[in-house]
């Protein structure tokens, strides 16, 4: 297969970026999207050009490190991670446009690599259960209804890739935040901190410059783990309740 690749190149956070076109022949339909970029990079290095920087690690769809906007869609045409996308999903001689995640809270570091540490800071603000190692009860002292455990697992499946933010016209991190709030809030262990957690996490999300949610649903449509927007609704309910119980977080 042959492709024209229109790829975002940007040397550093402070410099302007631009699209650069590359031609690539001899692409096998069995290649993964990132393997196709590997081949391009091998060619660029051999020619003495600067290879394209992109994030990736496990290449089996679980670490959440990779993420490209491909032809305008976060992670491309299949609802999976970029590393699990294969070239057979594209038509021969297509032009493929490749961009980094675009969001205020994810500044570009180089080419297709962005800084997602804002996600870590949202977790730091309350995305955990305050339990230290040791001194915990036997695991089976606390039965958890299977339905709740399963639903909690649906939220916990989030890989933190950031596709939800990249897809959202508002650059909102609601699906990411709601998945963690839901994962912990659906479990009995998560109850003591449930309302503080949602207040602090949403507050941090706003601080980081993520936009608000207007129920568009692009986030869920590109989520490689198919996390449902129900988690956002659930978080909003917790947030309203938390505001009544805990009051304004700014005054804390």
């Amino acid at each position: 297969m042959k492709f024209t690749l229109r790829i975002w190149r940007q040397k550093s956070p402070k410099e302007w970026g631009r699209f650069v076109n590359y031609k690539l022949d001899d692409v096998s339909p069995d290649m993964s999207f990132l393997e196709m970029l590997d081949i391009l990079n091998e060619e660029l290095i051999t020619k003495g050009d600067d290879p394209i920087a992109f994030d990736h690690d496990c290449r089996e769809g679980i670490c959440g490190m990779c993420g490209l906007v491909i032809n305008g869609i976060a992670h491309g045409p299949e609802q999976t991670t970029t590393c699990q996308l294969h070239m057979r999903s594209f038509k021969h001689v297509d032009t493929i446009t490749i961009e980094p995640w675009r969001a205020t809270a994810f500044p570009v570091i180089k080419d297709l690599v962005v800084d997602r540490t804002s996600f870590d800071r949202i977790i730091q603000s309350g995305g955990y259960i305050s339990v230290s190692t040791g001194g915990v009860p036997d695991a089976n002292t606390l039965p958890i209804a299977k339905d709740n455990a399963d639903m909690s697992m649906d939220g916990a499946a989030c890989i933190g890739c950031g596709a939800c933010v990249a897809a959202c016209p508002n650059g909102s991190a609601m699906l990411f935040t709601a998945a963690k709030v839901g994962h912990l809030g659906l479990l009995p262990q998560g109850q003591p901190e449930r309302y503080d957690r949602v207040l602090y996490m949403v507050h941090q999300m706003d601080e980081e410059g993520f936009g608000g949610c207007t129920n568009i649903g692009e986030c869920s449509a590109v989520c490689p783990k198919e996390i449902s927007m129900d988690f956002i609704a659930r978080m909003n309910r917790d947030l309203i309740k938390a505001n009544f119980i805990k009051g304004d977080i700014e005054k804390k």
């Binding site: 069995d30 990132l34 540490t117 955990y128 190692t133 606390l142 916990a156 262990q189």
Partner: protein, 655 residues
Amino acid sequence: MSETTTRAEPRTTTEFRNVTLESRAPSGPIEQRWDQHRFNMKLVNPANKRKYTIIVVGSGLAGGSAAATLAELGYNVLCFCYQDSPRRAHSIAAQGGINAAKNYQNDGDSIYRLFYDTVKGGDFRSRESNVYRLSQVSVNIIDQCVAQGVPFARDYGGLLDNRSFGGAQVSRTFYARGQTGQQLLLGAYQALERQIAAGKVKMFTRSEMLDLVIINGRARGIVTRDMVNGKIESHVADAVVLGTGGYGNVFYLSTNAKGCNTTAIWRSHRRGAFFANPCFTQIHPTCIPVTGEHQSKLTLMSESLRNDGRIWVPKQAGDTRPPHQIPENERDYYLEERYPSFGNLVPRDVASRNAKQVCDEGRGVGPSGLGVYLDFADAINRLGANVIRQRYGNLFDMYERITAENPYEVPMRIYPAIHYTMGGLWVDYELQSTIPGLFVIGEANFSDHGANRLGASALMQGLADGYFVLPYTIGNYLAQGGFDKVSTDNPVCREVEAEVADRMTQLLSINGKRTVDSFHRELGKVVWEYCGMSRSADGLKKALQRIPEIRAEFWENVNVPGQNENLNQSLEKAGRVADFMELAELMCTDALHRNESCGGHFREESQTPEGEALRDDANFSYVAAWQFNGVGNKPILNKEQLSFEYVHPTQRSYK
């Protein structure tokens, strides 16, 4: 090392020569050893813990859990990872589950049985005291993870569910769908983020450890490169912990993440930490085969597929007909033929070796010829497609997504791949390496799995080390005191920084013709061919001749573009591949010296008349701990003799 060492001669410290390997494994009844040892260890007063700083490199199950737990205890922690977030360490990719001797299923499990299975499964090449302790703390891990909110699978009564895994005769494996590693890692990550928020852990992401700093005979710091701006700097502490994972990427193609590397443990090895049993690597038989030269990594599928799939290849070499056109009498169901009682369910190493053998005979299938069929046609006829879908639906979907072939209609193709390394830096019972103050945890050390790791035991060991072993044992080291005041202005730090910077400059200035990946691929092929599924003296000698040649060409002809001062993924890879080149030689040296077969190490010269692995307990019942002796020089072998007081060595048989 003296501070007067000149930069012209990169230091490969000789300070730790003539170290005697003191396992410090306690004696006495095995059930009481850990309790007794914990009592004997010195404690650091709670008010004094904040006076100590500990460096933790790696943020996976071992590193992440250790960093969080040490901070909870009151120590100051500096934690480093090469990814953009500690949540992405490769522990995340473990699918199957985590073992624990809870006996929740009332099926006869016990701490002793898990201990027994692990020693036997490791083919009698692990330390009994360590393995018993691992089994003991396994039960605490599950309690801890549930308290953190890890959503393990549950049954309808709300209690935890278990499954039997990897041929175990009891159901002791806890799991969270097919994402157990991810969920356990998120538990540790959340605990870590809580400590970062509390100011007790300072986290350095996109930061790679490139060397170890030893001052006055103790590990006191590391030198790192900031992967975004290229800054090379020292960090100092009172102890250094490495939880940097295994070295499976020496094979280029493996199930490891692309970034997994040996640099942290290899640079420490060069500074004096002994490397134990480097040739003990584990191959997994059911991976998706390579499709071509472009292949960058391999994907594992659950072994459970072998419960219903039948493995075969054409009888005739070079038969390229599609599978449905090959009549029954021209198919070779080689595992069923050779191992009538176990058939397709023979252990991982046996299944893998047989697949390699039929492919070497030219009977492999698929475009590359490196694959065998795993055929579900009989099972679908017998049970119906729906039953098969219920059992393996998600795996079939995954296979189809990657290969674009529908396994309900066309047989799957599988091939073995490397996915775990049992070898690693040598550590004593307290997880301390031969360098005082350097501790090694998780897959990065050698300790608990012997020559072969059982399924669902990697997660168990990483978390055991990080939550429940290291946080105690490191206190014993710190409490002994005698620490000099050290800052990053120390001349040794400056010197090591300069060595690291020189190395970066050197890599960037070669300006040769070949890419880093092309060298890595070439190295991987040699190691896979001669030090992979089966090894022979002839082959290993060939590898030991070839590897130094590849290494020499690398240093003359590699092309690393760009500069050090910004994000440069080629430079990162070049440093890692350079270290793999040296490690590969050590692996082959170890494999050549160990003239016996055991666990994942199969020497063709040492097999039973039936072709099974044959151990030589009289001559090789020891841990081979290698001491660095300069690049290209033969490393020095040190032996830690193993004794088995509880589980007595026996020979495996699967006929």
